[in-house]
Symmetry: C2
Subunit: 315 residues, 2 copies
């Protein structure tokens, strides 16, 4: 059942023992939402505990993750930023069917909880959590501001993505007023790279080739590159966006070799004219107009030839 901010706040006001669930492979929005809500509920004298199937990545070090091991029997289970119970990971068997309230901003939310507070125009679930905390008259402390600012910043690429709204900035202003450590948060989230990331990016960029008079830039991330640099999947984050960022490039393509080395996962990003989804559907894939993908078996040169052939209709 869909509910609004006031109704969600009314439920939380009544509950004294709350378990908060974040999604697996946690990002800044699920952890920022979870800890922001946790500290808010504690400020109201309630017991609260946060659970997540996976540890927090290092770039989210500015979210204060205080020990929440206190044992209690929950009377209310809240999932934050979790669109699908499968995203609870190892927590799904125990909690998948016991979520009382889900607070989320994903349009794809499966409506699996007893009550769902969904605002899909919010850039981040943290925006909704802030509304709930305001309805609960929780004071905005620096600690809560750190949590909620982190969610806003990471889900909007630091206010750059098209999901950003005037309200996002108004809330950021409130978090800044409350003393959030925005400089440290953004430095950790956006301006820190691992040695392995830099090394694998370096090797991938060395493979970069331009086609169609510079309108297409294409690069490979092979298993050899991953092994030589010790890069993990985490280290590849954002690399798919790189070729499209080159001036004059309409179509950016990244070919990532599969573990079995039998083929490639293709990620295609376009700027304005080319429908990436249409191109990738020619190769058995799909996606959105500006970002799509497909899987093609074969060696690098064969796979590249197939992609360039498919692109020939557009470039």
């Amino acid at each position: 059942m869909k509910i609004n901010v006031e109704q969600a706040a009314a439920f939380l006001r009544q509950m004294d023992n709350v378990v908060i669930l974040c999604h697996k492979s946690p990002d800044g929005d699920t952890l920022g939402s979870g800890y922001g809500l946790l500290y808010g509920l504690r400020a109201l004298g309630k017991r609260a505990r946060l659970m997540c199937a996976d540890p927090a990545p290092r770039y989210l070090c500015c979210i204060p993750q205080e020990d929440t091991k206190e044992a209690f029997t929950p009377d209310f289970v809240v999932a934050v930023d979790v669109a699908d119970p499968a995203l609870l990971g190892s927590l799904e068997p125990e909690y998948g069917k016991k979520v009382d309230l889900c607070i989320d901003h994903h349009p794809s939310n499966l409506n699996y909880a007893q009550y769902t507070l969904l605002e899909d125009t919010s850039a981040a679930t943290c925006e909704i959590i802030f509304e709930v905390l305001q309805a609960l008259k929780v004071e905005l402390t620096p600690k809560i501001a750190d949590c909620l600012y982190t969610g806003l910043a990471t889900d909007t690429g630091c206010f750059k993505f098209s999901n950003t709204t005037a309200r996002t900035h108004l809330m950021a202003a409130a978090f800044m007023e409350a003393g959030c450590r925005f400089y440290e948060i953004n430095k950790a989230a956006f301006e820190t790279v691992t040695q392995a990331r830099l090394a694998v990016q370096q090797q991938a960029l060395a493979s970069l080739t331009y086609h169609f008079e510079g309108q297409c830039a294409l690069m490979e991330i092979s298993r050899d590159m991953m092994e030589q640099t010790g890069a993990t999947e985490d280290d590849l984050e954002g690399l798919s966006a790189l070729p499209r960022q080159i001036e004059g490039v309409e179509v950016g393509v990244v070919l990532r070799q599969n573990k079995e080395r039998t083929g490639y996962k293709i990620s295609m990003r376009t700027n304005q004219r080319v429908d990436a989804s249409a191109v990738c559907s020619l190769l058995g894939g799909g996606g959105h107009k500006r970002a799509a993908g497909c899987t093609v078996e074969g060696e690098f040169s064969q796979v590249r030839a197939k992609i360039l052939e498919a692109l020939q209709l557009w470039l």
Copy 2:
């Protein structure tokens, strides 16, 4: 003479023919301020013209730069974001001593204009221009919002730098409400690289070496790299910040060979512990705690050895 926002607005209200001056090698803040003020004054029925010694860089394509060649005799000259008349470049001989009003946020402003509106707590001069336009009761159109948002975003690294304040976000919210093209502005300013930039970065990163157990990362930008890639000085923007962004690195050093190939310009950035200014002063340079520089004559290996020797006291 220092004046406040109301006083600056009062002057502008009286004037009908205004020339606006931007600084040479223009950035987003000087052009955003200049065009924002220009469109504001025109909306009030005044004649206004913008002048700048150099053309706008391509990454500022979202600032509407409408033809302003209309001939008139100015009764008022305003410089925006220009801390020193020398920064007027080729416009200095004609206008350097004729600036009636300077609107700026640099603490280093030389107070060279007849009247100076200086707010050095503003992240960008565009913040001050917005206050002036509000005092003049100019309606915030999408065009003006594009100009002023560009200055805010570019001078704060998209709200990441420590100069960002709650007010910066409140103003950004107003520009978003007014319909500024924030997505396109940020894409052009922050997510577009030239082929030459990518190529020179690639070569520079190939020269990257780690020292003091990964606490220092050092890279070279040689004249050969510049020539081979066709990179210009513009293409090097932001490269100096790269080594310090690597996880675990306390000191990031970039060695840029001089044109005569007789030595290197060193740029040093530090994170927390090392005083870059103290290190560089050992080598005859100086600067700030977190960013400093010096010039060292010699070949690459010699220069690198000198820097590492100087760093030995700290790492």
